[in-house]
C-alpha cells in the first residue's frame, strides 16, 4: 500500500483529476525535478558520511562523532560551510567555462537519473534504448571535467583533467562491453525489460561465469570512470593537489564533490539493475513459495539495499588498494580488461544463442 | 556459396594474405625481412596469376558487389602493378623495421581498390575509397625518421579527408534526390535537374582530388616528394589507375544521363591539367616531383580519352593505364634502386649516369620515351588511342592542344635523358647493382613497354570487354 508505485500513481491521478492536462504535466515535471534535487542532496549527505564512517572503520578509527548523535550531522555542517564560502576564480581563467563546468557535470548526473528504476514501476523515463542512453550521457561528464581543468589556467588542473579524460575514455569501453553482455542475454536495451528478465533469478547467477566476469569488469571500470581510488589519478592529492578541481572553492567545489558521489550512486544503481536484478527481489526460478516470501520485502528496499552494498564495495576498494600509476592504469584497461571483455562478450553470445543460461 | 567464392575471389585472396601477415606479425619474431620479402613477392605473384582463372560474372549482396570480366581485367592490371612495385622496392624494404605493417597497409589498400571497382552502390564505393586512401597516408609516413615523410602523410590525409567530405556531400545529395545509393537500380532517375548537377559536381570534385586533376592537384607534388619511392610509385600508378577505372565507369554508367554536362567539365579540366602539369614539370629538379607533375599531365590525356564515347573511352583509358604502369614503374624502378643505394634523388645527380650504370640508363630512357609517347614504345599507342577516342566527339581544338602539350612534354623528358647520357659530372652516381627481384621488375617493365604497343590484340580484347557498358 505504501509502495512507491501506488504513491506515485495516486499523485498522478489526483493531479490529472484536478488540473488541466498541461498543468498536470508541468506540475509532475516540477515534482519530479524537486524530488531529484532532494535525492541528490540526500545522497550527497549520506554518501559522504558513509564514506567517512567506512574509512574510519577500515582504519580502526571512530570517524566523525561530534556533530549530532554519532556525528550524523557532520556532513550537513560541512555543506553549510561550503555554501557560505566565497567562490574564487583564478586570474586569466576562462570565465564562462570555469563557471559552467560544475553545472555541466551536475547536469550530466541528473540526466543519468532518468532511466533508473527505483522500485517496481517507478522510473522517470523508460526509454527504449535505456542502457545506451546511460552510456551516451555518462560519456559527456568527461567534457565537463576537461572544461574545468582547462579553464582553471592551472597546471595541476590541466594535468588532472587530462588524466581523467584518458581514464574515462578508455574505461568506458570496458564498462560498455560488460553492459552489452547483459543486453545480449536479455535481447533488449530497455531497462524495464532487463529487470523483468530477472524474474527467475538475477543475471549474475543465471549467466554462469561470463556474467560474473562482466560484473567484475563492470565494477572495476565504473570505479575508474568515477575517478575513485585506486584509480583516482585525476585528483591524486600527493601529485596534483586536487586535480581538475584544484581552483574551485565554495559551492562550485561542492557541486563537483556532490557530482562525484551521485555518479557513484548512479553507476552502482546501474550495476545493481543489470546484474543484481534492480528492484527485483531475490528469486529462484521454480521456487514459487520462496519467491512469494521474498516479494513481501518492498522493491525499493531491494533496490537501495543492493545499490548501497555495491557502494560499500567501491568504498572498500578505496581504503584497501594503493593508487595505480597512469601507465599501469592504461595497461590494465587496454591490455587486460578490454581483451577479456571482448572475449567474454563472445562467450556470452555463444551462451545466449545456445540457450545455456537459466 | 561457390558463387560467393568465385565472385569475391580477388578480394578473398587479398584477405587471406592479410590474415597471413597478421598471424606472422603476432606469431613469429624470427622471420627476417628478406624472407618476408620473398614470401610476399611469391604471394603477390600467385595473386596476380590466380586472378586470371575461375572468374565469373555476377552480382552479390543484393547489388552491393558486382563482378564482370572487365572488372576482373582491371583488378589483374592492378595486381600486376603491385607485384612489380613490391619486387622493385625490395632494396628499400630490406632495412625497414616495420615491414609486415607496410605489406599489410599495401594489401588493404589494394583490397579497397578492388571493392571500389566492384561496387554497385555509392556507399560501398565510398568505403572502398576510404579503405584505399587512409592506409595510404600511413604508408606515406614510412620513412619514419624523415620529417618530410610525415609532412607528406599529413598533407595526404588532410587533402583526402577534405575531398572525401566533398564527395560525401555529393553522395548525400545524390541519395536525397534518387532515394537510393545504387548506381543504376530500378528507381534510378538521373536526368539533370540543377540539384543533380550540383551533386554530380561534388562527386566529380572528389574524384578530381584523388586523380589530382589540376585545380585539385596541389597535394600531389609534396606528397610524392616526401613519401618513400615505393609509396610514390604506388600512389602514382596503382592508386591513380584504380581511380581512373572507377571514374570512367561511373561517368559512363551512373552519370550517363547528364553526359552533355560532364563532357564540358571534362574538356576544360583536361586542358588545364595538361597545360599546368606540363609547365610545372618543366622546372622540377627532384625526380619524384618531376614524375609527380608528369603524372598530372598524363591524367589530362586520360581525361581526353574518357571524354569520348563510352566504349572506346573506357578501353583506351584502361589500355593507357596498363602501359602507364609499365612505363612509370620502369622509371620509378630505376629511381627507387638509386635512391635506396645512394639516397640521391635530384636531376643533377643523374648527370653522367650512363658512364656508371648503362643498363639502368637505358631502362630509364625507354620508360621516359614511353611516357613521352615516342613511336616505337607502347606509350605512343596508348596516347594515340586516347586521342582518337577523344577525337570521336569532333573537338579538334582539344586534340590540337593535347598534341602541343606532348611536344612540351617531350622537352622535359629529353632533358632528363640528356642529363643521363650526355652531361658530364665529376660526382656521378656509383654503379648500382640491383638484386634479382628488382631486375626482374625492370625486365617486366621493359618487356611491357616494348610488347604491349605491338600486341594489337590487347586493345581489341579490352574493347570487347567494355562493350556492355
Amino acid at each position: 500500500m505504501f509502495s512507491l508505485q501506488s504513491i506515485s500513481s495516486q499523485i498522478h491521478e489526483w493531479l490529472y483529476g484536478h488540473l488541466p492536462p498541461a498543468f498536470a504535466l508541468l506540475s509532475e515535471f516540477f515534482i519530479v525535478g524537486m524530488l531529484m534535487i532532494g535525492l541528490f542532496a540526500f545522497l550527497g549527505l549520506v554518501l559522504v558520511f558513509m564514506e567517512r564512517k567506512v574509512s574510519a572503520y577500515m582504519q580502526i578509527r571512530l570517524g566523525p562523532n561530534r556533530v549530532g548523535p554519532k556525528g550524523i550531522f557532520q556532513t550537513l555542517a560541512d555543506t553549510l560551510k561550503l555554501i557560505f564560502k566565497e567562490g574564487l576564480r583564478p586570474k586569466n581563467s576562462d570565465k564562462f567555462l570555469f563557471n559552467f563546468a560544475p553545472y555541466l557535470v551536475m547536469m550530466v548526473a541528473m540526466l543519468l537519473m532518468a532511466p533508473i528504476p527505483f522500485a517496481r514501476n517507478v522510473q522517470i523515463w523508460d526509454v527504449n534504448i535505456g542502457v545506451l542512453y546511460i552510456s551516451a550521457i555518462s560519456s559527456i561528464s568527461v567534457i565537463g571535467i576537461l572544461m574545468a581543468g582547462w579553464s582553471s589556467n592551472n597546471k595541476y588542473s590541466l594535468l588532472g583533467a587530462m588524466r581523467s579524460g584518458a581514464q574515462i575514455v578508455s574505461y568506458e569501453l570496458s564498462a560498455g562491453l560488460a553492459i552489452l553482455s547483459i543486453v545480449i542475454l536479455t535481447g533488449s536495451l530497455r531497462i524495464s525489460d532487463i529487470v523483468a528478465s530477472q524474474q527467475t533469478g538475477w543475471w549474475i547467477f543465471k549467466g554462469h561465469i561470463p556474467a560474473l566476469i562482466s560484473f567484475v569488469i563492470f565494477i572495476i571500470a565504473v570505479t575508474a570512470e568515477t575517478n575513485r581510488a585506486p584509480f583516482d589519478l585525476a585528483e591524486a592529492e600527493s601529485e596534483l593537489t586536487a586535480g581538475f578541481h584544484t581552483e574551485y572553492s565554495g559551492m562550485q567545489f561542492a557541486l563537483f564533490f556532490l557530482a562525484e558521489y551521485v555518479n557513484i550512486f548512479i553507476v552502482t544503481a546501474i550495476g545493481a539493475t543489470l546484474f543484481l536484478g534492480g528492484w527485483m527481489p531475490f528469486h529462484i526460478g521454480g521456487w514459487e513459495s520462496f519467491n512469494h516470501i521474498m516479494d513481501y520485502i518492498p522493491s525499493s528496499l531491494w533496490f537501495f539495499g543492493k545499490t548501497f552494498f555495491l557502494i560499500f564495495v567501491i568504498m572498500w576498494f578505496r581504503w584497501t588498494f594503493p593508487r595505480l600509476r597512469i601507465d599501469q592504469l592504461l595497461n590494465l584497461e587496454w591490455k587486460y580488461l578490454l581483451p577479456i571483455g571482448l572475449f567474454n562478450l563472445l562467450l556470452m553470445t555463444i551462451i545466449a544463442i545456445l540457450g545455456w543460461h537459466f | 556459396m561457390t558463387e560467393f567464392l568465385f565472385l569475391l575471389k580477388h578480394e578473398l585472396i587479398l584477405g587471406l594474405i592479410l590474415v597471413i601477415l597478421l598471424i606472422m606479425k603476432i606469431g613469429s619474431k624470427s622471420m627476417t625481412n628478406s624472407s618476408l620479402i620473398s614470401l610476399m613477392n611469391g604471394l603477390l605473384f600467385i595473386n596476380f596469376v590466380a586472378g586470371w582463372f575461375l572468374n565469373r560474372e555476377g552480382v552479390l549482396f543484393g547489388g552491393m558487389f558486382q563482378n564482370s570480366s572487365l572488372l576482373v581485367f582491371e583488378k589483374n592490371v592492378l595486381s600486376l602493378g603491385t607485384w612489380i612495385i613490391c619486387l622493385q622496392s625490395s632494396a628499400w624494404m630490406k632495412n625497414h623495421k616495420h615491414l609486415p605493417e607496410f605489406y599489410m597497409l599495401m594489401i588493404s589498400t589494394l583490397m579497397g581498390m578492388f571493392f571500389m571497382l566492384s561496387s554497385g552502390n555509392l556507399l560501398m564505393f565510398y568505403i572502398g575509397l576510404e579503405l584505399s586512401t587512409i592506409p595510404l597516408a600511413a604508408m606515406c609516413n614510412f620513412d619514419l625518421e624523415k620529417a618530410n615523410s610525415s609532412e607528406a602523410a599529413m598533407k595526404m590525409i588532410m587533402s583526402s579527408a577534405f575531398s572525401s567530405g566533398i564527395l560525401l556531400f555529393g553522395i548525400s545529395l545524390f541519395y536525397g534526390m534518387t532515394g537510393t545509393f545504387s548506381l543504376g537500380g530500378p528507381s534510378y532517375n538521373f536526368d539533370g535537374s540543377p540539384l543533380q548537377v550540383l551533386a554530380f559536381i561534388m562527386i566529380f570534385s572528389g574524384f578530381a582530388f584523388k586523380l589530382s586533376v589540376v585545380p585539385f592537384h596541389l597535394w600531389t607534388a609534396d606528397v610524392y616528394e616526401g613519401s618513400p619511392v615505393a609509396v610514390t610509385s604506388y600512389l602514382s600508378v596503382i592508386s591513380k589507375g584504380s581511380m581512373v577505372f572507377v571514374f570512367a565507369s561511373v561517368m559512363y554508367t551512373a552519370f550517363r544521363g547528364i553526359a552533355s554536362v560532364w563532357y564540358d567539365g571534362l574538356v576544360v579540366l583536361s586542358l588545364v591539367t595538361m597545360i599546368v602539369g606540363n609547365l610545372f614539370a618543366l622546372r622540377q629538379n627532384n625526380m619524384k616531383r618531376f614524375l609527380a607533375f608528369s603524372s598530372i599531365a598524363q591524367v589530362g590525356y586520360i581525361l581526353i580519352g574518357i571524354s569520348g564515347s563510352s566504349e572506346s573511352g573506357m578501353a583506351s583509358s584502361i589500355y593507357f593505364i596498363l602501359i602507364y604502369i609499365f612505363s612509370n614503374l620502369g622509371a620509378f624502378g630505376v629511381i627507387s634502386l638509386i635512391s635506396a643505394h645512394t639516397g640521391r634523388e635530384s636531376v643533377d645527380d643523374y648527370k653522367g649516369m650512363y658512364k656508371t650504370n648503362p643498363m639502368l640508363s637505358w631502362v630509364l630512357a625507354l620508360s621516359l620515351f614511353s611516357l613521352a609517347g615516342i613511336p616505337p614504345t607502347a606509350g605512343f599507342f596508348g596516347k594515340m588511342f586516347l586521342l582518337t577516342a577523344g577525337a570521336a566527339k569532333g573537338n579538334y581544338f582539344l586534340i590540337t592542344i593535347a598534341a602541343l602539350n606532348m611536344i612540351i612534354s617531350l622537352y622535359y623528358y629529353l632533358r632528363i635523358i640528356r642529363a643521363v647520357f650526355m652531361d658530364k659530372n665529376e660526382n656521378s652516381l656509383p654503379s648500382v647493382q640491383g638484386d634479382f627481384g628488382s631486375r626482374l621488375a625492370l625486365i617486366c617493365c621493359v618487356v611491357g613497354i616494348l610488347i604491349t604497343g605491338f600486341a594489337g590484340g590487347l586493345y581489341e580484347y579490352i574493347l570487347s570487354l567494355s562493350h556492355g557498358l
Binding site: - | 600511413a138 609516413n141 602523410a153
Partner: protein, 165 residues
C-alpha cells in the same frame, strides 16, 4: 510541438556550427562543435531514431570530440597563436562561400517539387529494424569498414611507435 523543436534544434545547430568557425579560441570551437553534435542528435530523436542519437552522442561527443579537446588543450593553442589570414583571403573565402550558398539554395528550390516523396516509416530508426538493415542489406560495407578500422589501427600503432632519435 515537434515543429518548434525542429526549428529550435536547427537554429541551435546552425548557430553553434557558425560559432565553431567564428570562435577565436580553438577550445571554444571544439565545445561549440560538441553542441552542434548534440543538436544533430536531437534531430535524430525527432526522427524517432533514438539509437542513432545515442550512438551519435557516444561516438562524437563522447569519444572523438574528447580526443579533439584533449589534443587541443595539450597544444595550448590560443587566439594569439592562430595564424592570421590576410584580408583578401577572407574576402575571397566569403565570396566563394556565399556563391556556394546561393547555388545550393537555388538548386534546392528548383528541386523541391521534383523530389520523390517516399512514405516515411517511423519505425525505421528502432534498433531492431536498424540492425536488420545493417546486417542484411548493408552487410558488406559493414564488414569492409571493420577491415578499414583494423588497418587504420595497424597504421596508427606503427606510426605511434616511431622512435625519435
Amino acid at each position: 510541438m515537434t515543429l518548434y523543436l525542429f526549428y529550435f534544434l536547427s537554429f541551435l545547430a546552425v548557430l553553434s556550427a557558425l560559432m565553431v568557425v567564428v570562435s577565436k579560441n580553438p577550445v571554444h570551437s571544439v565545445l561549440y562543435l560538441i553542441m552542434t553534435f548534440f543538436a544533430i542528435a536531437g534531430h535524430y530523436v525527432l526522427l524517432n531514431a533514438q539509437f542513432l542519437a545515442a550512438v551519435h552522442v557516444i561516438v562524437y561527443a563522447g569519444a572523438i570530440m574528447v580526443l579533439f579537446l584533449y589534443v587541443i588543450m595539450m597544444l595550448n593553442l590560443n587566439a594569439d597563436t592562430e595564424p592570421q589570414k590576410g584580408k583578401w583571403l577572407r574576402v575571397a573565402a566569403t565570396v566563394a562561400g556565399g556563391i556556394l550558398m546561393v547555388v545550393l539554395v537555388g538548386a534546392l528550390r528548383s528541386a523541391a517539387d521534383t523530389l520523390p516523396v517516399t512514405a516515411h516509416d517511423n519505425q525505421i530508426g528502432m534498433i531492431k529494424n536498424l540492425g536488420k538493415v545493417l546486417y542484411k542489406d548493408f552487410m558488406l560495407p559493414f564488414e569492409i569498414s571493420s577491415i578499414l578500422f583494423l588497418v587504420a589501427m595497424v597504421g596508427a600503432v606503427m606510426l605511434g611507435k616511431k622512435e625519435i632519435k
